[in-house]
């Protein structure tokens, strides 16, 4: 048995260039999955640690359903028999130079000691006098803040440094240790109230509660009470679809990896068939041969998986940063750091690589198990048989496509069903590769013949003749290119839909304070209202709420202004939908409607400061601002429901026919800047949204690149194998007078022809995949309709990638040709 295994394993060493290519293919596929899993996990861990750290010893938080909480509530809380400790908190963000956002907590240094240790640590390592001095500075200097040591190190800050922010310069009095790595600034709560214009208000109260049920009963009306676990669950739920999509995206790269493993295993079987025949003839059992082959594949899979685990860990640092930026932009502030190295990364990679290898090698293993020694010892090849099976394989492909179609019809049951459909579709499409090669040969042969002569014609013929060897490599490459086209076309369509949405819903001349960290004082809104000539001011407020146990959001606007100036696109009806909104009804976004199955004419119940209130829904509109859904209402309704007068931003509308338009715009800008409020023109605001949009797809782009890299190794491996497996054929070429250059050209032509077939298929498969992503995955994940728009760019970029990858993949095999072809002879052994 040892000798049988040894005879198979030596191929790995003997054909080390090929083994290396296959190993790298597996490694990159595994790295994509491991890297994305770790990045996703680091985001979650960072989220949990941040929640834990910020929560400290608090068991619950109490806040208003929307907007800040009146300070007077604290006095009532203090007398509640269930409350053991309470600590008021202001939880906001400030913007540093370079546009970086950082969380600022306003804490009461006396009350907070019962809950958190941050303020209690001030000057801990100093003498009593120094500690007293630092504490006094924190307490009495309105600009004094504490900064966590990670941020201090990164920004070069120390006690006494000045930190410029969007809220003015802050003075660092102490640098505190923060084990979570969450960037954090801490100020005295009174100073924080001044800083954010929140006099008499706080964002929440952190509590230590002894008996939850009676406490909830007493504070149920008008307040939102969340336990630490609920808080984490709410935040995790916000990330749910985003994380799942990233995870599946990485699985697509692994899917390409599995195809490559299948490719590798199939090539291995081709060269082991004869050995298997010999072994069977001399008395080895089929089980022994299968076991030896399995050991070989598992070693390759395990080594590739281990390398993939290592690469995935390195990749996770980069991906965690990209994921963190996307999460911070879309959901809530998060700065995940890469997880510390663990041997589990290696173990996970090995398991993934080995499992993928087992799945990938299964068809080849079955083929090896069916080897007929009489046939293989007579020199009959499998490739000839493979050609005959092309139609049968395509039929299986058609079956997979039918299964995919059925799964898409059932996709509303669960998101996983949609993803299963996508995988079935890609599997089905890949099974058509053989047929596509057969069909493309009559077109490619004259084309390559006219450009490259005999070498070109032979190359195209070779691809068809060796269908069994080339079709899987083409399938892997085709899938990678389809992912590239599909994701590219989906992103472009989404981008075009977002532009369409912005042009219909964000039509103000100017937008004041849209960056989220600076609120607009109400008197400024009134001041602008006094300027003659301004057509309307939309007063915008957005808050996150919980509806039917799930996070969603409420937006307040000025319905009259939007009715006049915006061009909302509705599921039903038109501008008349605004009329009932002015009178107290609400409209909901498409995401909200789909998520909660709420339609026009339904009624929804929202928790306000005076308890639950039922509101009629009088319209559903297209929206891409959040996948968690939006309930939109007039500001008057919002104030009645939440009594929250905070203004996030203002949209200024001026009639296009107004002759003083430019002067009015200049005047509003001047006044806003005088108040330190950021101003953006419509074009600037739209551009910023598109920048955010592009930023959130950075991860998707990196996965596209990884899939192409995986497939690149596949094509290189296929070309290399074609050369190695046909040495006898090359011997005949040599005898016939083919020069090394001719054979090198032939190898390049094989690579390019495989690239062309892959690309041609990917144009169809990729477009269909884009439609699947748009019509099924996006709809089920994010509950919004994206409209398909054709753009040339994804096809152009992918086509050039295919050409470059095919040429690059041919480079090493060509080098091998130059090294080995001159000594190739016609011989059997």
């Amino acid at each position: 048995m040892k000798s049988v295994i040894r005879s198979f394993l030596r191929y790995l060493v003997r054909r080390r260039s090929l083994s290396t290519l296959h190993l790298l293919g597996i490694a990159v596929g595994v790295a994509a999955a491991v890297g994305m899993t770790l990045a996703s996990r680091s985001a979650l861990r960072s989220l949990e640690e941040a929640v834990d750290f910020l929560r400290g010893g608090a068991t619950h938080t109490l806040e208003r359903p929307a907007g800040p909480l009146e300070e007077e509530v604290l006095a009532r809380l203090a007398t509640d028999p269930a409350v053991r400790s309470l600590a008021p908190v202001i939880d906001r963000q400030v913007r540093l130079e370079g546009d970086e956002k950082i969380r600022l907590l306003g804490l009461d240094p006396f009350l907070d000691r019962e809950v958190r240790s941050v303020t209690a640590r001030i000057g801990r390592s100093e003498s009593d006098d120094a500690r007293q001095r630092l504490f006094s500075a924190f307490l009495f200097d309105p600009r004094a803040v504490l900064v966590d040591e990670g941020t201090a190190r990164r920004l070069g800050l120390a006690a006494g440094s000045t930190l410029p922010t969007s809220q003015g310069s802050l003075k660092v009095v102490y640098v505190f240790p923060n084990p979570t790595g969450e960037p954090l600034i801490v100020a005295d709560i009174g100073h924080a109230q001044e800083l954010f214009g929140l006099r008499g208000m706080i964002d929440r109260a952190d509590l230590v509660i002894a008996e939850e049920a009676p406490f909830r009963a007493r504070w149920d009306k008008g307040f939102k009470i969340e336990s630490g676990r609920q808080k984490t669950e709410t935040l995790t739920a916000l990330l749910g679809a985003f994380r799942l999509n990233l995870q599946v995206l990485s699985l697509f790269a692994l899917f390409v990896g599995v195809l490559l493993i299948y490719n590798t295993a199939m090539f291995a079987v081709v060269s082991r068939r004869r050995d298997a025949g010999i072994l069977l003839a001399i008395g080895a059992s089929r089980r022994q041969i299968a076991a030896a082959f399995l050991v070989e594949v598992l070693i390759l899979g395990t080594a590739g998986g281990a390398l993939g685990g290592l690469l995935g860990y390195l990749l996770s640092g980069l991906l965690a940063k990209v994921v963190g930026e996307a999460v911070s932009t879309l959901y809530f502030f998060l700065k995940p750091s890469a997880l510390p190295w663990s041997f589990w990364n290696l173990g996970g990679g090995i398991v993934l690589g080995a499992a993928a290898s087992l799945v990938g090698c299964l068809p080849s293993l079955l083929e090896l198990g069916r080897v007929e020694p009489v046939r293989v010892l007579q020199g009959r090849t499998a490739s000839r048989g493979a050609r005959k099976t092309t139609n049968r394989v395509a039929l299986w492909g058609a079956l997979c496509l039918a299964v995919a179609a059925a799964l898409f019809l059932l996709a509303s049951l669960h998101l996983y069903v949609g993803f299963a459909g996508a995988f079935a579709f890609l599997t089905g499409a890949s099974l058509f590769t053989g047929l596509a090669i057969v069909w493309s040969v009559p077109v490619l042969k004259p084309l390559f013949g006219s450009v490259m002569g005999l070498s070109g014609r032979i190359a195209v013929g070779n691809i068809r003749e060796n269908l069994g060897r080339t079709s899987v490599a083409v399938a892997a490459f085709m899938i990678a290119l389809s992912l590239s086209i599909g994701l590219g076309a989906m992103i472009d369509s989404f981008r075009t839909s977002v532009v369409w949405w912005m042009n219909s819903q964000l039509r103000g001349e100017l937008y004041i304070s849209t960056k989220g960290d600076v609120h607009v004082p109400e008197d400024f809104y009134e001041e602008l209202g006094g300027i003659a000539g301004i057509g309307g001011i939309d007063i915008f407020r957005n808050v996150q709420i919980t509806f039917r146990g799930k996070p969603t959001s409420v937006t307040s606007i000025d319905a009259s202004v939007l009715q006049r100036y915006d061009r909302f696109v509705w599921f039903e009806g038109g501008g008349e939908n605004w009329e009932p909104v002015k009178r107290g009804s609400v409209i909901v976004s498409e995401s909200f409607s789909r998520r909660f199955d709420v339609k026009k004419g339904d009624r929804i119940t929202l928790d306000g400061v005076d308890g639950p209130r039922e509101l009629p829904v009088t319209g559903v509109f297209y929206d891409y601002s959040t996948e968690h859904g939006v309930v939109m209402m007039d500001r008057s309704t919002y104030l009645g429901l939440y009594r929250d007068r905070t203004i996030n931003s203002l949209g200024i509308f001026i009639d296009e026919t107004n002759p003083d338009r430019e002067a009015l715009i200049a005047e509003v800008k001047r006044r806003a800047r005088a108040r330190g409020l950021p101003v953006a023109t419509r074009a600037e605001f739209h551009r910023r949204i598109l920048d955010i949009f592009d930023g959130t797809f950075a991860v998707t782009r990196s996965m596209r690149i990884l899939a192409v890299i995986v497939a690149f190794f596949g094509i290189a491996g296929a070309l290399m194998t074609l050369f190695l497996e046909r040495r006898k054929e090359f011997g005949i070429f040599r005898a016939l007078g083919f020069s090394t250059g001719d054979v090198a050209r032939l190898t390049v032509a094989e690579g390019v022809a495989m690239g062309i077939v892959s690309f041609a298929m990917s144009v169809i498969v990729g477009t269909a995949f884009a439609l699947i992503l748009i019509k099924v995955i996006n709809l089920e994940s994010f509950h919004w309709t994206v409209f398909y728009h054709f753009t040339l760019q994804p096809y152009l970029v992918t086509g050039l990638t295919a050409l470059a990858a095919s040429l690059a993949a041919a480079a090493y095999p060509v080098w091998s040709v130059y090294r080995k072809y001159p000594v190739v002879q016609i011989r059997e052994e």
């Binding site: 000798s3 040894r6 394993l9 022994q288």
Partner: protein, 231 residues
Amino acid sequence: MGESIIRTYDLWKRYEVQGHNGAAIRGVEVDIRRGQIVALFGKSGSGKTTFLNLLAGLDVPSAGRIEIDGRDLAGLGETGRTRLRREKLGFVFQFFNLLPTLTALENVFLALELTGGADAKPAVEALVLVGLQGKEHRYPHELSGGEQQRVAIARALVKGPPIILADEPTGNLDSATGAQILALLVERCRAAGTTLIMVSHALNTCDYADRILRMTDGRIVEVHSCRELTQ
């Protein structure tokens, strides 16, 4: 000569190619004795290799029966036939069929290992017997055709099987080397009392055989002298 070791009864191997029916073996009945050296001649396509494959249990007859050492091959099943090849049969092929990734010694030891042997000494001795002392650690591609065939013979002999099947053992060698290989193979088989069935085109094979058979269109006839073959 001793008792019967290979017997076939009305052996048929039929095939179907693109709707055409044919038979590679047509009602062959032979009885080969233990220790006999048999030369099987025949033109290309006459069914010689098919006959060897049937005897080795690598192929299954369409009709008829094969008995090896008194046991019906059909009753052995796949596992039994594998065990038979492992323990009772040695194979020598025209194209040597050595595993390219194993050295000469490893190729020979492989046959021993399959029978449960763990000691490489007999493999070394087998290589010495076929004249390959000092070349034990060479890979097949580092050996000449004749040397590779010697390794194949050593591999067939090392486990001491009662039967060796040789399919054109000299077909890929020059005549001088071919003669040496034949002499070596027959000498080792005679020394060990092994039954040898050699399929061949080369007439000189007949000089080494105790018994000569000729296969024509799937049928076997007894030939009584080498001269008869040329007539």
